[in-house]
Each structure stands twice: as C-alpha cells, then as structure tokens.
C-alpha cells in the first residue's frame, strides 16, 4: 500500500508540472543578439524550418484548415534589442494569402509584420527588453508546403481524436469475439458427444484431483477440496467439526500417498497431529504465496499429462499465453504513457494502447477455456461426463449398506464434477450414518446437516489454499 500511495502521489505530482513536448526553445540556441538584430527564417517545402542556416527540430504544424508556423524567436535575450527583424522566406510565392502576426510580451515596444514580396514576410519588434518573448505566426494556406508522408502521419495521429477512443473500445471487444470464435473452433475440432447413457461406476481408478484437471483443465479449489475428502475417505485424515471451529487430525499414515497428497498434508500439518482453524490460518498467512500449493497444483496437472490426457501440461500452455500476454501488456502500457507524454493535450491515442492492454487481459482470462485435451483425454472426458450424468441423476438411490458406502466414495468425484449437492440429494431417503472420518461434537446429524457442516469447512480451506498459489509458478 505504501508503495502504491507513494508511487501514485509522485506520479500525480510529476504530471501536474506541465510537461509539453520540447522542441528547440530559442533560449537554448546559440543566438547572439545585437541592438540591430536581423534573422533569416526559411520555410522549406517539406515543412522544415531553418533559422540563420540552423535547422530546427520544430516543423510547420499541420492544422485542419492551414499549415502554421508559430515560433518563439526571442525569449529573454541577454541584451536589449532596439530593432529585431525576422525575414521569413516562404516555399511558395503566396505571401499575400498568408495570415501573419507577431506577438510580444514582457517588455516589447512596437511590433509589426508586413509582406515584402510574394515570397517574403517581414516581422519587426522594437525596444525588446531582456525579459521579453517575441513570437511570429504565419498561417500558410494548404498546399504551401508538401510535408513528407511520415510527418503527415505523425501530425495527424493526435488529430484523429476520438477515433482512437473508439478503436480503444473496439479492440478489446474484437479480441473477446475472436477468442470466443477461436475457442468455439477448438471445441468443434474436439467435439464432445454428450453421453446418452450414464455410467454408474468410476470410468477409471484415478485420483479425483486428476479428474478435476481433466474436467477444468486447471487445478482450482474444487480439486484441492476433492483431494482433502479423498484423503479423509481413505482414512489418512479426520475432519473435525467442533462448536469452536473446525480442524484436521492425522489418522493412520498410508504409505501409498501420491507426492502431491503428501505436500497437501504437510501444508496442513507441520509436526502436530491435529491442526485447527487457527493453525491452518497461520500457515496460510505465513507467506503471501505458497510454494507447496504451487507444487501441489503442478503435481496434479503433471499426473494428468502423464496419463496422456494432455499433450503438454495445461498449466505450461496457459503460462506461455500469459507470458506473451504480459509482454504485450507491458508494451501497451509503455505505448500508453508514451502517447500521453508526446501528445499532452490530444492524447486519445493513448486509448488505443489501453485497448491493447485490456485485450491482453481478455486473452489471459479466456485462455483457460481453450480446450487442450488429447484424443485420449477427450475419450476419458466423455466417460467422466457419463459418470457425472449418473451422479446428478434425479433418481433416488435405494438404501443398502453398499450404497451407503458409495456416497462417501464418489463424493470427491462429485465435487470436481460440480454436482455434489445433486449427488447428496440422491441419498436423501437414507438413514444417514456419519462417515467415521468426520468427527462432530453435534449429535444426530442427518445427511443435510453433514453436507452443511462439511462443505463450508472444505470449501474454506481449499479456496484459501488455491488463492495462495504463486502466479507464474513452473
């Protein structure tokens, strides 16, 4: 926050000091003024200006109805000047059509300007003090100069005004539409046939976290929650629901734990057997980002990749998009600030760059929707959709001791397949028996109470864990 406030205030303060494009201020040139000072100013056909043989960085401004020379020719001279004369030579013999004027402030006597001949305009200022600024103005009719194409483009960029604003709005919208089309095309090429029949058995004995990656193409809170309940169902941990808060306790240690499951357990338990809410909160807040959770995520998606569901780890693919997106985003931001600094008062151009930045953000957000499964992954995805259909069916499951056990066994899969509520409803006619891995100090809990107690606990922990994953971790 400190950095943000400091940076914000500094930036604001810096910008309030008007910072206009510096041309070549006359005060920075090596002009030696004399009491009778005469200067020759030549306007070239290409719009460049030469003062006494010295080419200026400033060019003729291209306006809508005329091309304009607006040039400070004296700014706080070292000595008083009795008579300053500026002979302006035009590139075309049309001096009579040129609107000319001389401006003088802070101690200038008589000023005047007149046409000498068809190519020349004379500007004169008398009694110029050492505090004075004298400027000459000549509005040339269109066609007097023929600027180069590049200069014409550069001059007209800021003049396009609100067109840039419109483009800045259109660009992200177009990007969004293009991304949608791209995703739709990919979805068509990887078309998933909605399963006609449901499957009442697990299509494959793989951990629920991996099923979640196959389903969502990423590791999120649901995958972590499913892994936690899976660990509980397998007897590795107990979930404690107490009136003063929840907790987790180690049960028996299963030596067949997968690497990422061990990491998840080590995140919950340090050296203790029981980890309550305060302890878990402490461990979540110990770091801004958790390497363990990053490794856990990578472990689950790596396993899904090794099983052949993805050609490349989806996290790596999305990371590539995000890295390129970040680079383009930085370029867009650089362009944005450059536009603001270059075209201080007509900086609508900046919105084009802002549109580019927003477009990269659109791409970064939508990239995870691009299907990247292999054909094997597609087939398995299809099988799991058939299983999902079974889980969320409206048909009640009749009571039997075996069916009672099925509820627990399939619950982690229902969570990753986003149908845990519907799955639980299928058992609403059962006399619910509390799973032995869920320890509550409340008595007589029914199925609904069990769900209302378990889901918030697991949701809280998994969401907190998912939020502390390092961005960009590989």
């Amino acid at each position: 926050m400190f950095f943000l406030v400091f940076f914000g205030v500094s930036f604001f303060a810096f910008n309030t000091v008007t910072s206009f494009k510096a041309d070549t201020p006359i005060s920075q040139t090596n002009i030696v003024y004399t009491p009778e000072y005469t200067s020759n100013i030549v306007i070239n056909k290409d719009g460049t200006i030469i003062i006494d043989g010295q080419k200026m960085a400033q060019k003729i401004d291209l306006l809508a109805d005329s091309d304009e020379l607006r040039l400070p020719v004296i700014d706080k001279p070292a000595t008083d000047i009795d008579l300053a004369t500026f002979i302006v030579t035009l590139p075309k013999a049309n001096a009579g059509e040129v609107t000319h004027e001389i401006l003088g402030i802070h101690g200038v006597g008589e000023i005047n300007s007149f046409v000498q001949d068809e190519n020349t305009i004379i500007y004169q200022a008398r009694n110029v003090s050492t505090y004075a600024t004298v400027s000459i103005v000549a509005k040339l009719p269109k066609g007097t100069i023929a600027p180069s194409f590049s200069y014409w483009i550069l001059s007209n960029i800021p003049n396009l005004g609100s067109i840039w604003l419109v483009l800045g709005l259109v660009l992200p919208i177009a990007t969004f539409i293009l991304m949608m089309l791209f995703i739709l095309l990919r979805l068509q090429s990887q078309k998933v046939q909605a399963p006609k029949d449901e499957t009442d058995a697990l299509p494959m004995a793989i951990p629920p976290g991996v099923v979640g990656v196959l389903f969502h193409q990423k590791v999120g809170a649901r995958e972590i929650a499913a892994t936690l309940i899976d660990l509980a169902c397998r007897g590795d941990i107990l979930i404690l629901d107490r009136s003063r808060g929840f907790g987790f306790a180690k049960n028996h240690l299963d030596k067949r734990l997968i690497g990422y499951e061990k990491i998840l357990l080590s995140k919950i338990f340090k050296h203790n057997l029981v980890s309550d809410k305060e302890e878990i909160d402490r461990r979540i807040n110990a770091h801004l980002y958790s390497k363990k959770i990053s490794v856990l995520s990578l472990g689950i998606s790596n396993l899904a990749t090794r099983l052949g569901y993805f050609k490349t780890n989806p996290q790596t693919i999305y990371l590539r998009y995000k890295v390129i997106g970040s680079i383009v985003c930085v370029l867009g931001l650089a362009g944005f600030f450059f536009s603001l600094s270059q075209y201080a008062n007509t900086s609508y151009l900046a919105f084009l760059w802002l549109g580019m930045v927003i477009s990269t953000l659109v791409v970064s957000c939508m990239v995870q929707k691009i299907p990247v499964r292999t054909s094997l992954g597609q087939d398995n995805y299809n099988n799991w959709l058939a299983f999902k259909k079974y889980l969320e069916s409206d048909k009640k499951i009749p009571y039997s001791p075996d069916n009672q056990e099925i509820f627990q066994r399939y619950l982690p899969y229902a969570i990753v397949l986003e149908c845990e509520i519907k799955w639980a409803k299928r058992f609403s006619e059962h006399n619910f028996i509390m799973p032995d891995w869920f320890v509550s100090d409340k008595e007589g809990l029914g199925l609904e109470d069990f769900c209302l107690s378990l889901f918030p606990i697991v949701s809280y922990v998994s969401r907190s864990f998912a939020a502390i994953r390092e961005p960009g971790f590989r």
């Binding site: 309030t16 770091h287 970040s326």
Partner: protein, 181 residues
C-alpha cells in the same frame, strides 16, 4: 524490520507480478484522470491577484473537448499563443466568441454594454484603451491584476485550442471554490 518480514515480502515471484499489476492499474487510472479530467497547478506570479496568489495550488478541470464552450468570468488555463509548447497562463475569460470588446476609461464594454467586474477591486485600472473583435472560437482573457498582467490586451484574443481547462478550486494553502471568487 526482521528477516521474516523480508522473507515474507519477497517469497515467490508472484509478489513482483502482483505488485506490478496494482501499480500499473493505479498509474493508468491516475494518468487518465490527470490527462483528461483533473489536475493541479501552481500559480506563478501576481497577475491574478487579489483572487489567486503566487504559489497557491489550484485544482483544475481539463477540457479535453475543444467544442466545450467557456463562460464569461471563468478562470482558465491557456497556452500562450506565442509559445504554446512552453508557456501557460492562468487568466479570466472576459470576451466570448463573436463579441466585440472595448476598453475605455478603465471600463470594459461587451457589445457596447459595460460589464460588471465584481471580482476585481474598483480602484484597479484596466488599460490600454482599445477595441477587439473576437472571431468564432476566440476568447478575450485578462488577468485580475489589470495593472500587472500580460493578456489579450497585449497578445490579442486566444483561440479555443489554446485553452487547457478551467480552475475549480484553490486547494492550498487555503481552500476556496473558484465560483466564489
């Protein structure tokens, strides 16, 4: 600052991304606000005495759209037409486009009618005498300190394109809304 703090601060590259993300967002918002909507400036000089004092900080509203019309009495920021890239002034709008402004015997006439100038003391003299006719899109601006101000009386009416915006309030060292001046 203990070691734990720094470990926590720099742990993981994510801190960098996260911080940059918010810094960039703040910068973009500030830049847009500062470029197109509002900003502040420091009064430099006495040309707007007794209403704006030297070194006061003034909050001003930018007019990004040149078609925005200004009203008489508004305090505006203008680029000096003789050196628009480097010199900006704060003055008050006196004459509007299409009007004829005359200064005679220290009084200001707009289209032949004398105008009230409650924002300047009665003993301030407005000189020199003269008549100016504003073209379409031109404004006649004057500093409140009539005896010590380089303004349209010297360099003529200014085109709308040179007007950057108008002052809204003095914010430091006092607070005063410009409309109360």
């Amino acid at each position: 600052m203990n070691n734990n703090f720094f470990t926590k601060l720099i742990y993981g590259g994510g801190v960098f991304f996260d911080t940059i993300k918010w810094v960039a967002l703040v910068c973009v918002i500030l830049a847009i606000v500062n470029t197109f909507f509002f900003s502040i400036f420091f009064v430099d000089g006495q040309s707007m005495e007794p209403n704006l004092h030297d070194k006061e900080v003034v909050f001003w509203r930018k007019s990004s759209v040149e078609a925005d019309r200004l009203s008489r009495g508004q305090i505006v920021l203008v680029k000096y037409p003789g050196d628009p890239e480097h010199k900006q002034y704060v003055k008050r709008v006196i004459g509007l486009p299409g009007e004829t402004l005359e200064i005679k015997e220290s009084k200001v006439f707009i289209n032949g009618k004398v105008t009230k100038q409650e924002y300047i003391p009665v003993y301030f003299r407005t000189e020199p005498d003269g008549i100016w006719m504003m073209k379409e899109n031109e404004y006649f601006i004057m500093g409140d300190n009539r005896e010590n101000s380089s303004d349209s009386r010297i360099f003529g009416p200014v085109e709308r394109r040179f007007v950057l915006g108008h002052a809204s309030a003095v914010i430091f060292p006092r607070f005063l809304l410009v409309r109360d001046m």
